[in-house]
């Protein structure tokens, strides 16, 4: 059953509360910096690190506050300052990914949570006429196709990690994830699929935006950056392009939170979630995990069970 995303009508109040809470945390010295969004040049929210109470006044929370922020924590590993961060439901999954992967200490965080019923895709909204855009952002109604893809299956409206919640939690309706985009990939035979993927990856410009935005791509040093051993040749040949994307897909398999940020930042529009979705679907079918994109303490591809039935096959 798909989700039916809507826009929160009280975002202006939430934004005021967010600014107040961030200003409080900064002025009382509870955090040294607060990660949120500010208004970008074209009005679309962009990631922003406020370091004073006055700067907290620049924070925004609106239907386009889509970019996740947790990945920026890895820029702040040095030192022991506390960091504030705002997350909605899916943003908290990104944060939890980094916490479950033990890449940032929970005790250095103050998490401000905002229940969320849906966020618009900035690119889809940018494509609207000026009048349509104003109408949509002001009071709707909003075409469901304008929401981020991830909103259409989201069943985590409330942050799974938070220290302060800025509004009342929303009712939760659980549903089994569906992966409509995988069917086509699965229907292809091997040669067709190889040809299809070659064609996709040939369009890649190797800018690494997908990796850099991905909360599951959080290794201390990415193997794709290493020279010795050289996992990824620097030539943009068809073979290296495939290696790049296969390595990335396999490395995040089992840890992908299905946020689709990789697709959002891809300047050449590659449908990168197709392969990630395939792995998620496989995890459900092979290991019986119904919601494999939700970070958990025990994850099928991240644990070892002495009673694993597969062990018999391998002596």
């Amino acid at each position: 059953m798909p989700n039916n995303p809507t826009l929160d009508k009280n975002m202006t109040e939430t934004e005021t509360a967010l600014r107040r809470e961030a200003a409080r945390l900064l002025s009382q010295g509870e955090v040294a910096v607060f990660l949120g969004h500010e208004e970008g040049w074209d009005g679309v929210p962009v990631p922003f690190a406020a370091s004073t109470a006055a700067e907290a006044g620049r924070l925004v929370w609106n239907p386009l506050s889509a970019p996740h922020l947790a990945k920026y924590l890895l820029d702040r590993l040095e030192g022991d300052e506390k960091v504030g961060i705002v997350v909605n439901g899916c943003g908290s999954l990104a944060l939890d990914r980094i916490l479950k992967d033990r890449r940032f200490p929970r005790e250095r965080l103050h998490v401000v949570g905002i229940p969320c019923s849906g966020m618009l895709d900035p690119a889809r909204v940018a494509a609207l006429s000026d009048e349509e855009r104003e109408r949509v952002l002001k009071d709707g109604p909003v075409d469901p196709g304008l929401f981020l893809d991830r909103c259409s299956w989201c069943d985590v409206p409330n942050p799974v990690v938070s220290d302060t919640l800025l509004s009342e939690p929303l009712p939760v309706v659980r549903h089994r994830p569906e992966y409509p985009r995988v069917a086509e990939l699965e229907a292809m035979d091997r040669e067709e699929r190889a040809e299809y993927l070659r064609g996709l990856y040939e369009r890649c410009i190797r800018c690494f935006a997908c990796r850099n935005v991905c909360p599951a791509c959080n290794c201390r040093e990415c193997c794709l950056d290493q020279w010795e051993p050289l996992w990824l040749g620097r030539a943009t040949s068809p073979a290296e392009q495939q290696m790049f994307h296969f390595i990335r897909a396999f490395d995040v398999a089992g840890r992908c939170i299905r946020c689709g940020e990789c697709e959002r930042v891809c300047s050449v529009g590659l449908p990168l979630m197709e392969l990630n979705d395939k792995f998620l679907k496989d995890i459900t079918e092979l290991f019986g995990v119904e919601r494999p994109h939700i970070p958990a303490d025990v994850e099928p591809l991240g644990c070892f069970e002495p009673g694993d039935p597969d062990l018999e096959d391998h002596g």
Binding site: G40, W41, D42, V44, V46, P47, F48, A49, P67, K71, Y72, D75, G199, L200, R203, I205, R206, C207, F208, A209, R211, N212, V213, D225, W227, G233, R234, A235, T236, S237, R264, V265, S267, V268, G269, L270
Partner: protein, 377 residues
């Protein structure tokens, strides 16, 4: 190709022709017979600038405001072999040696449907690769065999700011031929024909060639001289939306004193550290050199690298002079708006708007150029 970096006034046309939009495909086919041809194409739903290859996905898209990637790859390929080698034995002494095979010479290439800003970017690349103490033979070989056919912009969009750098939607800089939509500029211009104006000998040769003539590139009606002049002027005087906000960019002196500004920390806090801006940029030219070798033979090639990547400057032994994102982000903007100016007398930006459109977190050059004006220092 100009070897002087002085910006010249538009040179006098050497030839004028007319081509119907419906004949463009035919013209490209005719040009393909003697050259490799690159052109803006729709690939996977996005406008891309790539080589026209029979059978490969892609549909000519001359009216896309800007392609995701710039035409620079035609002159500076993302991956470019420099030489091939094979381990051998010197027949005289029996000592190990290397057989070196140079790469095949560059083939003629037509860069078709280039935007005026991107053609102007080639002038900046020429400055880097063709002037000074070192001339890059690989770039030079490609450049000497290139013909640039630009298409003047009918409808600059909200990310366009070429006029901030003294260019215009009808700029002829580094263009051998410019196509001007016959109906003039306008938001929904779908010209049924283009005036084709040659500004160089190479352009004249291309326009007046038998291949072009037989593909429908013909003399314009004799009574359209004034209309052509008015059309050219209309393109040249067209404003660009983002430049209205940014104004003329001239911040080299200001940035002289801002190397240590805390501003760069703010910028770095937003930067994702990916290489999108550098790879889509028509003027970013940094590259690395690596070998792909196995079994006693190999290829040495260069590849686009990015100052935004954490390993860009890391040296043998592990030292990195720019260890933090702050250093790397600062480098890119300082290079474009200060260092390059000091060295070449030109800003390393043509206002194409690709960083505005492609940066995943809305961090782009016009904003930085505007913000540094207000900084103290």
């Amino acid at each position: 190709m100009s070897t002087s970096l002085a910006s010249g006034a538009p040179t006098a046309p050497k030839a004028v022709r007319l081509v119907r939009a419906a004949d463009l495909g035919r013209w490209l086919d005719a040009l393909s017979a003697g050259s490799r041809v690159w052109a803006p194409q729709s690939v996977g739903g996005r406008p891309r600038y790539r080589e026209l290859t029979p059978g490969r996905e892609g549909r000519l898209d001359l009216e896309a405001v800007r392609t995701v990637d710039s035409p620079k790859a035609a002159l500076l390929p993302q991956t470019e072999p420099l030489l091939a080698y094979r381990r051998a034995k010197d027949p005289g002494t029996g000592r190990p040696s290397l057989d070196l095979t140079p790469v095949p010479p560059a083939e003629p290439v037509v860069l078709f449907g280039v935007r005026p800003c991107d053609a102007a970017a080639v002038e900046l690349l020429d400055g880097v690769f063709l002037t000074g103490d070192f001339v890059d033979e690989h770039y030079k070989a490609r450049r000497e065999k290139s013909v640039i056919v630009t298409v003047a912009c009918s409808a600059p969009d909200r990310a366009c700011f070429c006029t901030s750098f003294g260019l215009s939607p009808g700029s002829t800089r580094e263009a051998d031929v410019v196509l001007y939509g016959r109906s003039g500029p306008g938001p929904k211009a779908e010209p049924d024909a283009y005036y084709c104006v040659a500004y160089s000998d190479r352009g004249e040769a291309l326009l007046t060639s038998e291949a072009s003539r037989s593909a429908g590139v013909v003399e314009p009606p004799a009574d359209e001289g004034q209309k052509l002049e008015d059309t050219v002027a209309a393109f040249r005087n067209l404003p660009t939306p983002l430049a209205e906000r940014v104004g003329r960019v001239d911040v080299v002196d200001k940035l002289d004193g801002l190397f240590e500004s805390p501003y760069w920390e703010k910028v770095a806090a937003r930067c994702l550290g990916c290489g999108t801006c550098t790879f889509v940029c028509p003027t970013c030219f940094c590259f690395g050199v690596a070998d792909c070798a196995a079994g006693g033979r190999g290829v040495r090639f260069r590849y686009w690298d990015s100052c935004k990547f954490p390993h860009f400057l890391r040296m043998a032994g592990g030292h990195d002079p720019r260890p933090h994102k702050k250093h790397r982000t600062r480098q890119r903007f300082m290079h474009k708006l200060n260092y390059h100016y000091h060295r070449y007398g030109r800003y390393l930006c043509v206002g194409c708007g690709r960083c505005v459109e492609s940066c995943p977190v809305g961090l782009h050059l016009p904003q930085v150029a505007d913000e540094v004006r207000g900084l103290e220092g």
